[in-house]
Symmetry: C2
Subunit: 327 residues, 2 copies
DNA sequence: TTGTATGCGTTATCAG
DNA sequence: CTGATAACGCATACAA
């Protein structure tokens, strides 16, 4: 149904190769011929077949993105950022969700890798060896976890925790709980490490709780432990956990921030809408996705002049109503 | 780098076509040969090139999905549902976000259509003619808006409004505001029509407000109008608007549901987390995406035995704390 | 049941 | 600057 280059050539009265050349390197064809070809192409609504092109060039102009859960607001933003950037660079983006099941992840990535020039993988908990293995025969980059020498874009987790704890400390809190996320995830490791550093380098007394699954339900469960711990403030692994904590505290009639201050990490959209609004560490989620694309393209097209991809994104505490002076 | 069918043939000691046949129609090849081929393929990590296959078959085993905004929780779920279903049927899914800019939508769809066997389009506000035009040379289906004779999966908007209003009426409310969404969107038309029907068929007095952009900010703006209208309850076009309304009401010290009851539509995850939790009409968002894929496949592979795709999905009111008896 | 030959739509190479 | 021709990797007649 769609017109092919052959027909464009016929209509324009030139050869097939001239058509191809006109579209690929317009400057290597006579202006006059160029116009004829372009006109013919336009009138026929010609669009080169990416499949055919890919066969000879080896490039599909398509990237892949694999995340654990599309509905997790964190990854939603990563997808948005990656899609936007990919599109603007002329690439389509295949998106896949592993449903938190890292077993099918390898197969998924391999499958996508055959249709794409490279894939961006968000996989917080998959074993390092598995990823290194994968990276051996798929060109890929990682988001939010370093692994071997696979190119990675990360965020400054430690600084985020530091900012949050500095804030709480300034408000007079000394006994602070940390509600941990998925044990073994790089982010949780980093955040936990920063928590311990803070404890050693200041007069803070940190109480480590967890791990919890990084969803609202986990936070609900954590809240009671936090209360029992005698802490006057709590920092959670992410905002979803914080939302759960807030919800449970409200249920139990605990005043926030009067009796307990709460800080989350990620600054997802919902954070601004709770009662009270959640103080949270803003992390550049969309920028992570965008940077993932840049990093990947840097490998795919070293000649393209892309901005030197940042690989360690900065974070910034956003103070809202859920934190106040210590009781 | 990746092994080709030719090499598999060499290793297995058979011809190229036998390899191809073994994978496509295993029963038309001698069991013994089959094993040899499969073994060779496995040992080489052979994966057929989708591009090459697509060239001869005309199918890419890829679908496209275009939405206005990936970060809108409504579409996030549609994407999740579509991705899941596509994957389970052996298709990859290219996802694109128009950033609410329907001008680039046509080009985007066409571009994706060249790489996919069909595309699912969520486009609430694009003019009908534009879509009909597009559907003329792209095989596509629509989600959440009927248009000409393009296959569409919709939800039962009218029934949703009816359920919401029945609920409020049962609680004694008689004067109810409706905060409208994007004028001209099919969903808003339907919901508005249901609102008017309800007014004519009962003793309800409906106050139409709007239109508002279907985001939290719109709800914040709408809240003051709602208060001024003398209504005792408000139904919003969607949950995001309802969240905005709730937020503003809290700011102004209005008791919910004591002085004002609030009902949203969509039942997005955040609806359960507000204070008070939001009563909302659950709409099967993920199922919409899933059904979109089914509908598309029904056209692409009429022979495949798929469940007869439902094209009008049912909704169900979920009552939470934001609604109570009329003051 | 298996192998041979041809074509899918494009790019790339090379000769004109 | 342009045109003929050979790949690209696989599927599918058709022949054996």
């Amino acid at each position: 149904m769609p017109a092919g280059a052959r027909e464009v050539a016929r209509v324009a009265g030139v050869s097939l190769s001239t058509v191809s050349r006109t579209l690929a390197r317009p400057d290597q064809v006579a202006p006059e011929t160029r116009e004829k070809v372009l006109a013919a192409a336009r009138s026929l609504g010609y669009r080169p077949s990416p499949a055919a092109r890919g066969l000879t060039t080896g490039r599909t102009q398509t990237l892949g993105l694999v995340v654990p859960d599309l509905e997790n607001p964190y990854f939603t933003s990563v997808v948005k950022g990656a899609q936007r950037r990919a599109l603007s660079l002329g690439y389509a983006l295949i998106v896949a969700d592993t449903d938190e099941d890292s077993r099918q992840e390898v197969e998924l990535v391999r499958s996508i890798a055959t249709r794409a020039d490279g894939v961006i993988l968000c996989s917080p908990r998959t074993p390092e060896e598995v990823i290194v293995d994968l990276a051996a025969d798929c060109t890929m980059v990682l988001v939010n976890r370093p692994c071997g020498d696979v190119p990675t874009v990360t965020i400054d987790n430690r600084d985020g925790v530091r900012q949050a704890l500095d804030h709480l400390r300034a408000l007079g809190h000394r006994r602070i709980a940390y509600v941990g996320g998925p044990r073994g995830s790089w982010s949780d490791d980093e955040r936990l490490a920063a928590v311990r550093d803070a404890e050693h380098e200041s007069d803070l007394e940190m109480i480590e709780l967890g791990s919890f699954r990084p969803y609202v339900s986990g936070g609900v469960a954590a809240a009671d432990l936090v209360l029992a711990s005698g802490a006057t403030a709590v920092l959670t692994y992410n905002d979803l956990l914080a939302l759960g904590v807030l919800d449970r505290l409200r249920q139990r009639g605990v005043d926030v921030p009067g009796r307990m201050s709460v800080v989350g990490i990620d600054n997802i959209p919902a954070a601004a809408l709770t009662t009270p609004p959640l103080t949270s560490v803003e992390v550049p989620r969309a920028a992570s996705g965008s940077a993932g694309v840049d990093l990947l393209l840097q490998r795919l097209e070293p000649e393209r002049p892309v901005p030197p991809a940042e690989d360690r994104l900065a974070v910034q505490l956003v103070v809202r109503g859920s934190t106040g002076t210590a009781p």
